[in-house]
């Protein structure tokens, strides 16, 4: 069931079959039909490896995400899903590559062995050797997130700084004066994860602007850590009346900690942050938050990558998203304020 067999049965040469299929040269209506009939009968489909070898394109894009030995957050996984579907719409397949560094075996496979035409990188760090490496090679890629100096790189990112600032201003407007910040795990912050750093910057800046008293915390990506973290917050400053979080996975634990401490949300305590909309609606009361548009970001990343693949010399493009805060039910005025 290869192209030679089709050619033989249709009584034409291999090249004619190829042209009939690709349309890159005219083929008479007559022979085209003859060929098509044989193909339909045998259910022939051209071998992807052979095609890739011949024309140098695999029609596959790589999706590089960090190996999670730990577990995945809902956001990461939403990206994967949306990238796969957006790519399918462009007739690209998606190859998963769990690699954190450019020296990973998995990463080397993608690039060195030319398994993919381009790549989408997730979980970007401010200084990211994978991104630098790809830029150096001029390898078509798009990052979800941006490094410290994203010039010349194609990316789609979230303006964590602005989003967290908006959260802080929202709380300050409601009268909150003592506010805690619940960040991702310290290990990720130290590794230089973009969202953790930019979010922290936004928090620091806005809190200073509004003259707030703050506490800053790193919190593990799970419910138990969230609960522990909340206990620490109230222990350090029992007068805290609100928190901002980037940590989706800890959210349930934070709520639990508040309930255990007898703080009613939003009457006694306000909670907000940057979280995927789906999760914000899961907790009770529903979370007032800047909703991470994970699906849109995945789609945009694919759009950009395809554009770059079609047009290798186009100048770098990017999308910086800053969705508005969705007012739900987890924030309110400080007790005693009107």
């Amino acid at each position: 069931m290869n192209i030679g067999e089709i050619a033989r049965r249709a009584g034409v040469s291999r090249s004619t079959v190829s042209y009939a299929l690709s349309g890159k040269r005219p083929v008479s209506e007559d022979t085209r039909r003859k060929i098509q009939r044989v193909i339909d009968e045998l259910g022939y489909r051209p071998n992807a490896s052979a095609r890739a070898l011949a024309n140098g394109r695999t029609s596959t894009i790589g999706l590089v995400f960090p190996p999670a030995g730990n577990h995945y957050t809902g956001m990461q996984l939403d990206f994967i899903g949306s990238v796969a579907e957006a790519a399918a719409a462009y007739d690209y397949d998606v190859l998963l590559s769990p690699s954190g560094a450019d020296s990973d075996r998995s990463f080397q496979r993608l690039l060195g062995e030319r398994r993919v035409d381009g790549a989408i990188l997730m979980e970007i760090r401010l200084e990211d050797d994978r991104v630098d490496h790809l830029a150096e090679l001029d390898f078509p890629s798009v990052t979800i997130g941006r490094t410290a100096r994203p010039g010349g790189v194609w990316w789609v990112g979230l303006d964590h700084t602005a989003l967290v600032e908006a959260c802080v201003h929202h709380l300050a407007d409601l009268g909150h004066r003592r506010v805690a910040f619940v960040n991702r795990p310290e290990q990720l912050l130290r590794a230089g994860y973009e969202s953790a750093h930019r979010g922290l910057d936004g928090f620091t800046k806005a809190a200073a602007e509004r003259g707030l008293t703050v506490g800053m915390y790193n919190c593990g990506d799970d419910a138990a850590s969230g609960q522990t973290c909340l206990e620490r917050i109230l222990h350090d400053d029992p007068a805290t009346t609100a928190l901002v979080t980037l940590n989706e996975a800890a959210l349930g634990g934070l709520y639990r900690g508040l309930a255990k401490a007898g703080r009613h949300v939003p009457r006694d305590f306000s909670v907000t942050g940057v979280v995927a909309g789906r999760w914000a609606e899961t907790v009770t009361p529903q979370l007032t938050a800047a909703d991470v548009p994970a699906e849109e970001m995945g789609r945009l990343a694919v759009d950009l990558l395809v554009e770059r693949l079609d047009n290798p010399h186009a100048p770098a493009r990017h999308h910086l998203l800053a969705p508005p805060i969705s007012l739900r039910a987890s924030t309110g005025p400080v007790f005693g304020t009107s």
Copy 2:
């Protein structure tokens, strides 16, 4: 940077380079070193497409999951993550294919174009044309979930029937007599999704055995639907004191509905079901549930597939998992019972 270039620079033939790399024929220590040095200098890696074409293996496995136009549940996404990592450990890449039917373009690409050596299928239906098709072709594949007649198929599955039965018995033991069942959306039930059907069977059977009064509900995969569903349950039979759910995504909404109705969990109302452990620990009170071992299942599926690929004529194998119920905090005796 191809094998010919390496050969030229090392002063040997292309076949010698190939043998030096694969070890399939002896090569003198001397020339091996010469070749290795050139390879290291140039950072050469053999082209995956060429290799796949020559030896007929792509070192890639396909992961087929339904296109989610709707959104993904936490479980599905956990599978994807764990499959990718387990595959990497075996030096396989994972190709994502969002397809629901064997006629999907995406599905045809995987098989017809020989992009993968084998496939793992998720979200199995009791009658599943994809599975039938693969079995007919004797294409190496493993399903996560099992069809109505899984003989001859390789699979790893969850014993939903037994798990839901265990949940019902747990509730009955606590004295509950009026129990509701919250299933996945009706659309999925009608499509024949395995978990929805087998779970329902288990519920029906166990409830009959214990002489319980039951209500059965289909519920959308999101928090809002969960809340609505709970309102319906209490409207239909206000004396209901417990529910069993398969619907992870609705869980937050069910809890919210209970809170709105003034039912305290677990004092006035018990909740249990089949849910990934991570989610069970997110809600407050933490859910007593049969924890879906999504990571383990993904890993086992890859193990089976690799075994099948290494050994094409081995008889079909499978793993049926039935994790015990984890007692947490969402169930308790009926009010008035001791």
